[in-house]
Amino acid sequence: MSEIAPIVLNVNGAARHTTALGGDTLLTVIRDQLLLTGAKRGCNQGVCGACTVLVDGRPVRACLSLAGDCQDRRIETIEGLGDRPVMRALQQAFVAAAAFQCGFCTPGMLVAAFALLADSRLPSEADVRRALSGNLCRCTGYKKIVEAVLRAAHALADEAVA
């Protein structure tokens, strides 16, 4: 087994000094070392999207990224995005539209949707479905998630106009 080594991660705006094995993924370190358990392990294989976090503003599967490679990158998790207007609008819309049931997919879904809305202010329904197609949900049938993302996009657009 590889050796435990100290690493520094910039997570949610703070430098976090921690340790990792050489093969440890970003998901393992943020969940087990930093106790940021919002990102979920649904497959550990890059398929389900439940572990989605932002690295330098881009959505990334934390289960596929090596923690060591993420030093000097800006990492943002669901826990750190809550005071951003886009995330707040998404969270409100998810609640209003009942866009979750068990909620296990939700943090990853929200982070992926956050990245989408950061890129395109008023996505179409097809845009939303395409952008989130790498995030699985077994509960909702997806319809209410799409509704929530579109609702948030419109709320943000209305705010921008007002």
Binding site: K40, G103, S133, R138
Partner: protein
């Protein structure tokens, strides 16, 4: 009670857990940690069937950081668990019976060390011949999977023998007379596949022992009480020594109803004397837990030329896998539902369940009905075609109505199926013709199916306490697996006591303090637990009025609860007293704290012996029927055979929607899970081994396959026995999906596939074959 006074029933209230679920703070099993906690890992069997000759754990124990190892030697032979047949140890003992079965487990300082140590355990096996299909298992010369079967404890007359796990038969009317009375007889054979639950959260458990030797166990579960029973049966513990709790659950769909790694986590914690968390990987979750049964189905239906159904025979053979689990229930229930919601005077529905050397199959949303419905509802379309009757008209002609009796003889208290059918017929524009213009190179048509389900069985309770400040604490023991039952039960409680929803808090299920609840399964929580909530609330109301009568110096009969947490003299709303004053009096002056409780067991008999004769009935009391009609609009690509559901309408008679938005969520989610079952989800075995135990290889529907035009339609028949008229919605929406899609595919491209899933390859092959004819 049916009227909503304060408007909490019928309200689309957000989940009580909404805030924690969107800010990432909701804690699921993998998110829990305890001081001094160790991590568990499992060694799985490489063989489908083998005798365990010896274990060598010395290399594993020599690894730094390893704290405990457990094997089959740590459990006694007579410690067996099981819902219907007690046939399963906490981990393999003496024999392994499927590839992937837990053979040993490790507790260590880290997950990595635990996994390394598990791999270092050496087990010597003597391989035995394996039975990998029910047909092979039931051959007289097949290797016997459970030599001790005759001695196992069984909870009903299973008829077990050899590798026959159980058998069930329903007879009503006179089937031979039925065939004689029929003008035409249709018979066909159908196959359905194994479907994986894929709850997004893999199974896991965390066990801790206190200084007194009492154990606390958190786990991904659908019933803290089933966890308690299973762990104690499999580890020889008195139930009073084990306390089961629940974190948030990342959905269940049946997968977490019966045990997975809870007994192993407890065994490791007892041996290590430290808390142990054991969470399965996604692959292990595919390989070690349970899945939807593959069904082999023969359906024979006799009809009059005018479309009147006369006789139905259904024969099924189920692959149960290595342990009985919920399988005998699935067999019995599937047969109970195999005449569908139709009047068929002569019926014989019978089947067998075989042990095989595969992972156990068990409860999965629909509980056998999606499989049976695929067969029976596609056959109805074939009958409609042959008789040149519109498929909807054929169904309407034979529909059961309120007051009719279900197969077995139980009366139907409420039935909104007729309205479900009319709603989907109108919404889909069915009467305008089933064929639609598809995009270039494709064909498109509508298909439909109906189905039914139940809402009531087994036992449940509720306790409501009025706290000193007049706030209300509800405790039911029902695990919210993500569907929103905490919210719905709180809504019922708030409505009954006429307080705002935020005045009610709901206790987390706890086997130490909650009333018994069999589980969040069988679509039963709203109906069963809802009735208990109303019963407990009625007792609280009565006690509140007794106190208020003293305070207001009037008779309790002259009082009523008024919205907002007050009790007032009828017609004189200002002569009132608040719940806080009442509760204060109860706590400090007279009568004692106000507690209301209720518990009950569903006691409507499944079978009326004067009407039906039944052998091997796993559920003697089950009922409160719900209904569904689905229309789908499916487009098939003529060059690839790929089917795409463009639009879907699913109307469910749920009795009464306590929270309409959550009801829609259940209908939509069930539809899409059914779409995966219909079109592409399939667990594949390569010999004894599951070939696709990853999400890379086992695909579930994504945003792309799920139709954007998915319309959940709520029909409310207001069941006279249900809480505010409610019945259920958890499973009904999945039952008819595969049949409706298959019927649409047939209407569009003229091929009748009797095997699921309807993959592109199969549809294309059938299209090519039919062109050659």
């Amino acid at each position: 009670m049916t009227q909503s006074v304060v408007g909490v029933v019928g309200l689309a209230a957000p989940q009580l857990e909404a805030a924690e679920k969107v800010d990432g703070s909701a804690r699921f099993i993998a998110d829990l940690n305890r001081p001094g906690m160790l991590y568990g890992a499992v060694l799985q069997s490489p063989h489908a069937h083998a005798r365990i000759l010896s274990y060598d754990v010395s290399r594993a124990l020599a690894i730094a950081g390893v704290r405990a190892v457990v094997t089959g030697d740590d459990v006694q032979t007579n410690w067996r668990m099981g819902a219907f047949i007690k046939d399963e140890h906490a981990l393999a003992k003496g024999k392994v019976r499927y590839v992937g079965e837990a053979v040993a487990a490790i507790a260590a300082d880290s997950e990595a060390v635990a996994r390394e140590a598990a791999a270092a355990i050496n087990v010597v096996y003597e391989e035995l011949p394996a039975a990998l299909s029910p047909h092979a298992a039931l051959k007289p010369d097949a290797a016997v999977i459970h030599e001790e079967l005759a001695n196992y404890i069984k909870v009903f007359d299973t008829g077990s023998a050899g590798n026959l796990c159980s058998r069930t038969s329903f007879r009503e009317g006179d089937i031979e007379q039925g065939w004689r009375d029929s003008d035409l007889i249709f018979e066909a054979h159908y196959l359905t596949q194994a479907q994986a639950h894929v709850s997004l959260e893999p199974c896991g458990a965390l066990a801790e022992i206190d200084a007194n030797g009492r154990i606390t166990l958190w786990s991904a579960n659908q019933s803290v009480f089933r966890v308690q029973a299973n762990v104690c049966e499999s580890l020889g513990l008195p139930m009073s020594r084990l306390r089961c709790l629940t974190p948030r659950i990342g959905a269940g769909f049946g997968n977490k109803m019966e045990p997975h790694v809870q007994p192993l986590a407890v065994l490791l914690a007892m041996k290590a004397r430290r808390p142990v968390k054991l969470v399965l990987s996604r692959e292990q979750d595919f390989e070690m837990v349970r899945a939807r049964h593959p069904f082999d189905i023969r359906v024979k239906t006799g009809v009059k030329r005018d479309g009147t159904l006369v006789a139905r025979e259904v024969e099924v053979l189920l692959d149960g896998g290595a342990f009985a689990d919920d399988s005998p229930g699935v067999l019995g229930y599937a047969l109970l539902m195999s005449c569908g919601p139709y009047r068929i005077p002569h019926a014989h529905c019978h089947g067998r369940l075989a042990y095989t050397n595969k992972m156990r199959f068990g409860a999965f949303r629909g509980f056998g009905v999606p499989q049976i419905t695929f067969a029976t509802e596609t056959q109805l379309d074939e009958i409609a075609d042959a008789l040149a009757i519109d498929p909807i008209e054929l169904r309407l002609k034979n529909l059961k109505r309120q007051g009719d009796r279900w197969l077995g003889g139980q009366p139907i208290a409420s039935c909104g199926l007729n309205e479900c059918i009319e709603r989907v017929r109108t919404a889909s524009g069915w009467n305008g013709g089933r064929h639609r213009a598809g995009s270039a190179g494709s064909r498109r048509a509508l298909g439909m199916a109906c189905s039914a389900h139940i809402s009531g069985l087994l036992s449940t309770g509720a306790i409501i306490r009025l706290l000193e400040d007049g706030s209300v604490l509800l405790n039911t023991g029902a695990v919210d697996i993500g569907q929103g039952s905490n919210t719905v039960l709180s809504q019922l409680c708030a409505e009954a006591l006429r307080v705002p929803l935020d005045r009610v808090s709901i206790a987390s299920p706890d086997t130490d303090g909650s009333p018994y609840n069999w589980g969040t399964t069988a679509s039963r929580v709203t109906y069963m637990t809802g009735i208990s909530v109303l019963g407990a609330a009625a007792e609280v109301e009565r006690k509140i009025k007794e106190h208020a009568a003293e305070i207001l110096e009037c008779s309790a009969q002259d009082l009523e609860l008024v919205p907002g947490g007050f009790v007032a003299v009828k017609g004189i709303p200002h002569r009132r007293v608040g719940f806080a004053a009442v509760s204060g009096r109860a706590h400090w002056a007279a009568g004692g704290p106000i507690i209301g409780s209720h518990s009950w067991v569903f006691d409507q008999k499944t079978v009326d012996p004067k009407r039906a004769s039944v052998v091997g009935l796993p559920f003697p009391q089950i009922g409160a029927f719900v209904f569904n009609a689905i229309v789908v609009d499916v487009e098939i690509d003529e060059t690839t055979g790929k089917s795409r559901v463009e639009r879907a309408w699913s109307a469910c008679d749920v009795g009464r929607a306590i929270n309409p938005q959550m009801v829609e969520g259940q209908i939509e989610g069930a539809f899409v899970q059914g779409l995966g079952f219909a079109l592409f989800e399939e667990m594949v075995w390569n010999g004894p081994q599951i070939a696709n135990p990853t999400l890379m290889d086992y695909k579930i529907p994504t945003f792309i396959e799920a139709p954007s035009e998915l319309y959940a339609i709520i029909v409310e028949s207001n069941d006279p026995g249900g809480p505010f008229g409610a019945k259920s919605v958890g499973e009904i929406g999945i039952n008819g999906v595969a049949a409706a899609i298959a019927n649409a595919v047939n209407a569009a491209v003229g091929v009748r596939l009797r095997r699921l899933p309807l993959t592109s390859e199969r549809v294309l092959e059938a299209m090519l074959a039919s062109e050659q004819k």
